[in-house]
């Protein structure tokens, strides 16, 4: 990809770099600019993008649980129908008591996303209105989309399983028994799952 081709993208990034303090941001590929900001910068950046750079369309908002880092990454994806660029605004907050600003006054539909993320990840949005319960009902456990929520384990505890399948065999173990092969413990993580 030549430098020329990504002109528009670079221009936008330079503009944002001048206005705001960005953490490691880049033009990822054509039609794709990614900026990382601190949570307190979210509203200024989004407002600026909407009002001054014609990023009028709020395409998506999502949250990723990076449990290894102890952080949630929330990403706002904006779309400029004229320049045809996706602007990714990413921010990271702590998994434990992260709070984000509410942006549904910029785009009304963000309200739906925020309600879902609040329910599924347990992130609080300052001043978000709307019923606490959105998709789930009477949910008393950990927010289910957090990575430490083990759905298979939960299902085992909560729901029934039709009996009659206990005679299933694992091919690898079955052959091992037949041949008296002894698989060392440290190798087991490489057996097929």
């Amino acid at each position: 990809m030549s430098e020329n081709k990504l002109n528009k993208e670079q221009l936008l990034l330079d503009l944002l770099k001048k206005k705001f303090i960005l953490n490691e941001s880049a033009v990822r590929r054509a039609k794709r600019v990614e900026v990382k900001v601190d949570p307190k910068e979210i509203i200024p950046v989004l407002l600026y993008a909407k009002e001054n750079s014609r990023y009028i369309s709020f395409a998506h908002m999502s949250c990723v649980d990076w449990i290894e880092d102890g952080e949630f990454e929330v990403v706002y994806i904006l779309w400029n129908p004229e320049d045809k660029i996706n602007l990714f605004v990413k921010t990271r907050i702590s998994r434990d008591n992260g709070v984000l600003p509410n942006i549904d006054f910029i785009w009304r539909q963000a309200n739906t996303y925020e309600r879902e993320i609040r329910e599924m990840f347990g992130i609080q949005f300052e001043g978000l209105v709307g019923r606490q319960e959105f998709i789930l009902e009477d949910w008393e456990h950990m927010p289910p989309m957090r990575r430490d929520f083990d759905t298979a384990e939960f299902v085992k505890k909560t729901y029934f399983k039709r009996p009659g399948r206990e005679d299933a065999k694992d091919v690898r173990e079955f052959v091992q028994e037949r041949t008296d092969e002894e698989l060392p413990d440290f190798a087991k993580k490489y057996s097929r799952d």
Binding site: R165, A168, K169, R192
Partner: protein
């Protein structure tokens, strides 16, 4: 809009024109159900083609497929004997199981109606529960092209034939990292290969480790029950690859080359020690003697040493490795490679007494009495002779002897035109070595090329290097001149007679087809046998020997309780990996016997 909109009221009435037309209603169930030629309905499994690899069961994200035992399918090498049973209360007809089935036995059919008041009926075995009309209804299948299994092996880079014959440099170059990852990622980890491996190496696990870019773990897994993996990685007879699930439609996973890749990442003995970092148990004071530093002896020595035994190996020759050093030519297994592996063993405490022939330099009885257990891995040293006239002529020699001299660093005059008799790996080795020594080589073999017991890769390699192969030739006489020097080989053509008992066809000499081939040497390579003269007669009487081999039980124990044996002199498969397996099994038995 006017309140009374005539057009708007009348237009819908035109719908009445459909009145009286033939309806397109499908009068099910009066007419039979129909489905397209590609419909994904209920499963059907061709039970005879199925090998029970369980790949369908692992790809199913609904855990709908169980592998179960079925009466009549006992399982053998390359077939676990298990067959898939589908829980239709889970199946979602995505047909991923069909796409990954390596043999193509599992298919989906056009049948889709399955209605019952009893939910337990939905657990059924395809191929058994729909035996009658399942096969003819097959609609969604996957052939070699559409299958998600990758059937073609990453080719191994080799030196060209004419370059190879210039020197004894290793002919096979080995996989580089990218090739190894790609080849390893073809493996479906079914583990059927482990049963075929005499040593039951943990093949799927180490291949998986390579695929996940963790070569060190791969090496650690390999060293769990094979202390000579680099040797195996280069020259193993790889029975594992014969039963690989991929062979049913394509090339087996290159298990041997992958092992070779994993072992070659450790460049010297210190690095091996650092990576494998074995746990060495505290010395337990028991003394074990091992006769012969071949694969079985070395294996027994290594694992006994790890278990805290005091191990001494007695080796008649100057180098360890036995047949793998003196029998296998260096272009297949370089000397440094073996030295590296043996060096690593010595570094963890295996003592090897070189140039010590038991029976000559040290008495067998003395060893026996001074040890808590003795393991014999003495191998087959004595070559069989052809049993034809002229074999004692100058220039008629045995392949094992010839290879022994060459591998030991010496040389032997063979002239420029050589006939090698035999079709095994030893014959090919001798032929290719002679070729490297500049001779024009012809292999004379009694049966057809496809009957040759040698590896096909070896045969191909020999042909690439310009070795001629003359199949269906029966040697009759070695002809010499008046000085007792070989000048020719008289042989006859053979025709193949089918065996009425269903065995492989037998060669029969064609009358009057005798010819004479002019040669300077004849190398016989039709087999070897053991030489047990080192055992004193009074002990030999107590050891049961049948057909030239020690009789051992599954613990590799001979009829003398303290005496164990393994390798060629105790098993019939006569290859390095069986020897290693024998050594490993004897270790377990010895530990059990002495440490209870």
């Amino acid at each position: 809009m006017a309140f009374f909109d005539l057009k708007g009221l009348l237009s819908p009435v035109t719908g009445l024109k459909q009145f009286g037309k033939k309806p397109h209603t499908i009068m099910f169930p009066d007419v039979a159900e129909h489905a397209s030629d590609r419909y994904r309905g209920l499963h059907f499994n061709k039970l005879e083609d199925c090998i029970g690899c369980g790949n369908c069961s692992t790809i199913c994200m609904n855990e709908a497929i169980d592998m179960i035992q079925i009466a009549g399918y006992e399982g053998k090498k390359g077939d676990s004997g298990l067959r898939p049973r589908v829980d239709n209360g889970r199946c979602c007809w995505c047909a991923l199981c069909v796409e990954v089935c390596p043999t193509g036995s599992l298919n989906l059919t056009k049948d889709y109606i399955f209605v019952t008041p009893d939910a337990n009926d939905f657990l059924w075995t395809p191929g058994i529960d729909n035996k009658e009309k399942g096969e003819e209804n097959i609609s969604f299948y996957s052939d070699k092209e559409t299958s998600l299994s990758d059937y073609s092996r990453v080719p191994m880079r080799e030196l060209d034939g004419d370059v190879r014959i210039q020197s004894f440099a290793e002919a096979v170059l080995g996989y580089n990292e990218e090739e190894a990852r790609k080849e390893a990622s073809r493996c479906i980890s079914c583990g059927l290969c482990t049963e075929s491996c005499p040593d039951h190496m943990h093949i799927p696990e180490y291949i998986n480790a390579i695929a996940r870019e963790n070569d060190e773990d791969a090496l650690r897994i390999i060293y769990d029950n094979n202390p000579l993996p680099e040797m195996c990685g280069k020259v193993c007879t790889r029975r594992c690859e014969d039963v690989c699930a991929m062979t049913h439609r394509g090339d087996a996973i290159a298990i041997r080359w992958l092992k070779r890749y994993a072992t070659e990442t450790a460049k010297n003995a210190e690095i091996i020690k650092e990576i494998v970092n074995p746990e060495i148990k505290e010395a337990n004071g028991k003394k074990i003697s091992i006769i012969g530093a071949g694969p079985s002896g070395l294996t027994a020595g290594y694992y006994l040493a790890l278990r805290g035994f005091d191990v001494t190996i007695y080796e008649a020759k100057a180098k360890a490795g036995g047949m793998t050093f003196y029998g296998i030519p260096k272009y297949r297994l370089p000397a440094e490679s073996l030295e590296k592996q043996v060096g690593y063993m010595q570094s963890i405490g295996v003592k090897i007494n070189f140039n010590t022939r038991v029976g000559k330099d040290i008495d067998f009885k003395e060893i026996y009495n001074n040890s808590d257990a003795v393991f014999m891995g003495v191998g087959f040293e004595k070559p069989w002779t052809l049993g034809i006239t002229g074999e004692d002529l100058n220039g008629s020699l045995q392949a094992v002897t010839y290879l022994d001299v060459i591998n030991g660093g010496g040389d032997m005059e063979i002239g420029d035109k050589v006939a090698v008799i035999g079709g095994g790996n030893v014959a090919i080795d001798a032929a290719r070595v002679a070729r490297r020594k500049g001779a024009d080589v012809t292999i004379v073999y009694r049966r057809r090329v496809e009957d040759m017991p040698a590896d096909w890769e070896e045969i191909e390699g020999a042909e690439d290097e310009g070795v001629h192969i003359m199949p269906q030739g029966i040697p009759i006489e070695v002809i010499g001149d008046k000085n007792g020097k070989v000048t020719g080989l008289k042989f006859a053509r053979a025709e193949m007679i089918p065996d009425p008992d269903g065995g492989r066809p037998r060669p029969k000499q064609i009358e009057g087809s005798e010819e004479i081939m002019e040669v300077t040497s004849v190398i016989g390579a039709i087999g070897q046998e053991g030489d047990y003269s080192f055992i004193p007669d009074d002990m030999k009487n107590q050891i049961k020997i049948e057909r030239g081999r020690f009789v051992v039980d599954e613990n590799k124990q001979t009829t003398l309780p303290k005496l164990f044996a393994g390798g060629d002199s105790a098993n019939r498969t006569a290859d390095a990996i069986s020897a290693i397996a024998d050594g490993f099994r004897a270790v377990k038995a010895i530990e059990k016997m002495l440490m209870k």
